[in-house]
Amino acid sequence: MNPQNLSLNPTSIRSKFTKTFLRALTRINNRRPPISPSREIYQRYRRVKIAADASMASAVGSRRTWSRAILWKIRNQRRYRALVSRRISTHAMTKRDPRENYGREVGHGSADELRRIVPGGEAMDFCSLLGETAHYIKCLNTQVQVMRSIADLYST
């Protein structure tokens, strides 16, 4: 009984994301709880969030700029957390994008904001920014649907 045969389209982004995300969830759940219970939920939230982002980006692969940017960011955050002190890492975590002021032009208010929202969109021209935004929206939709179905399954 192979699950690959039973799935509708095993190479689709949706099923790839589901597999990777559920595996990451089990890994998070199997992790032993930290000592301080006050930060437990927050850390779990961070982990789940990062797992969702990373599994989405790795399901898409490195073809897209936004997935590459997400993977780059997560990898650098891990390295920061391993290397640098905790204050800097929390600073990097609260900030949405560490490269926020990098390569940004002045003007074009809404386009600039879109650049900030879409990961890796700071150094893109407007045309490819729109393409990346379309793909990012589709993948976010898939992510939201899958995560909502998982959460509904857990909560019911």
Binding site: L6, L25, V48, L114, S155
Partner: protein, 444 residues
């Protein structure tokens, strides 16, 4: 009008002979003057109308050689017909032109006769190219001639005048002309603007190609007696100028230099992707305008990101209590058929209000008892608003009850958890899949 063509040809031959007889040993200025004089003679005869057609046909023919777009010839000839008032100011000898009254009729006849009047066209071309290198005494006449070449008439402008100013006037004149033109669709306006741009770009190229035409006209100087060859020569001129425009894919009247081509391609791509995004983002169909659509797209992306944050928070709050049957859901989730249909979920989604309420209570209490900062409290609220506005599987009373019960004491926590466990265990047993061997198989 066909019956007038032999007369015009005759007139052309006489003009060629006249000029050939006169200008063998004259200077350029004298040649110009003799030509003006000859034209005055022609006007005082009863051939004004034909001469005008002759002249404009020559303009059109020359422009055909220059622009190589014979599709645009009608527009060009119309413009050169409208040019006349400007010419009246710039070159007083031309003031005796009768003003064109029916633009399109004369345009069409001029276009027909253009094929027959190649000699005259070349003659005019020759005169223009010679006078272009004249001292400033003739510069005014040069400007008038150059303007008469379908470049759009600006009153006695020198050739060295600012191009931007000229183009501005051109556009205005184009619009005025556009209002006069009968039976043209709306896209004409756009095209005419493109024409103006194109002529801006053509201005330099034409100046560079004047040397070419003058050298060819020297060849023609020998063969001037047999005016039958001049048509061949003229076609040779147009052949010489052809390779400048052969690779260009532009519709009628659009600019053809590489920058505007690339810009047009970029604009088309942007509008196509905008259209795609419009289909993708719900509620974006009613909005017109790029800025409003961008705002809507930004809002949608932000709402999706907040939903992801909220769902991950929900999963983080829920997971540790459900460790024992996560494999079961893992198995269920891997089956996309089950994921897509969700029969048990669809059955229970109507009475999902209670477990969802419990779930949300748990989440809120978890957040509040974790002592997180207010910035962390905000995202679930935002996410809640988003999810209630989204048309997916959340009941309407979800938000109200959750906000109503937000300040519940934490003593109900365990009871809620017990309820949750019960529901979950029941749910896990009611799944029709043989979960245990499958998960073993998958994890191995």
């Amino acid at each position: 009008m066909n019956r007038a063509l032999p007369e015009m040809l005759h007139c052309l031959n006489t003009s060629v002979g006249n000029l050939a007889g006169n200008c063998t040993d004259l200077t350029v200025l004298d040649r110009q003057r003799t030509r003006i004089k000859w034209q005055q003679e022609q006007f005082q005869q009863q051939q004004q109308q034909q001469q005008q057609q002759n002249y404009f046909a020559s303009q059109g023919q020359q422009l055909q050689g220059l622009i190589n777009g014979d599709l645009r010839l009608d527009q060009v000839v119309t413009r050169s017909l409208k040019v006349d008032p400007g010419l009246e100011n710039g070159w007083p000898d031309y003031g005796k032109f009768p003003l064109p009254k029916t633009g399109f009729c004369e345009e069409s006849t001029g276009f027909e006769s253009a094929g027959y009047l190649n000699g005259s066209a070349f003659e005019m071309n020759y005169a223009i190219s010679r006078t272009a290198s004249c001292p400033p005494a003739v510069a005014e006449a040069v400007a008038a001639v150059a303007d008469g070449k379908g470049k759009e008439s600006i009153v006695t402008e020198k050739l060295s005048s600012a191009v931007g100013k000229e183009s501005f006037k051109k556009r205005k004149a184009d619009k005025a002309q556009n209002s006069k033109v009968v039976a043209e669709d709306d896209s004409r306006d756009k095209r005419i603007k493109g024409c103006a741009e194109e002529e801006d770009s053509k201005m330099t190229e034409q100046n560079s190609s004047k040397n070419n035409s003058s050298s060819n006209s020297k060849n023609n100087n020998n063969n001037r007696e047999n005016s039958g060859d001049t048509s061949k020569e003229n076609s040779k001129v147009s052949e010489v100028q052809k390779p400048d425009y052969i690779h260009v894919r532009a519709r009628r009247g659009q600019a053809t230099d590489s920058h505007s081509l690339a810009e047009r391609v970029r604009r088309e791509k942007i509008s196509e992707r905008m259209k795609y995004l419009q289909d993708l983002v719900p509620g974006c169909n009613k909005i017109t305008g790029k800025a409003g659509m961008l705002d809507e797209i930004i809002n949608y992306v932000q709402s999706l990101q907040r939903q992801v944050e909220f769902l991950s928070m929900k999963l983080a709050a829920v997971n540790p209590r459900l460790d024992f049957n996560i494999d079961n859901f893992f198995a269920k989730e891997v089956f996309p058929a089950c994921t897509a249909s969700f029969p048990t979920l669809g059955a229970t989604s109507s009475e999902m209000a209670n477990p969802a309420l419990l779930q949300l209570n748990q989440l809120q209490q978890v957040i509040s008892c974790c002592g997180l900062e207010m910035g962390m409290i905000n995202p679930p609220d935002m996410g809640l608003r988003r999810t209630t506005s989204a048309p997916v599987s959340f009941p309407e009373n979800f938000l109200d009850t959750s906000y109503f019960n937000q300040i519940q004491p934490s003593t109900t926590w365990d009871a809620d958890l017990q309820n949750l466990f019960g529901v979950d265990i029941h749910q896990g047993r009611s799944t029709p899949f043989p979960s245990q061997p499958f998960t073993d198989n998958y994890e191995s």
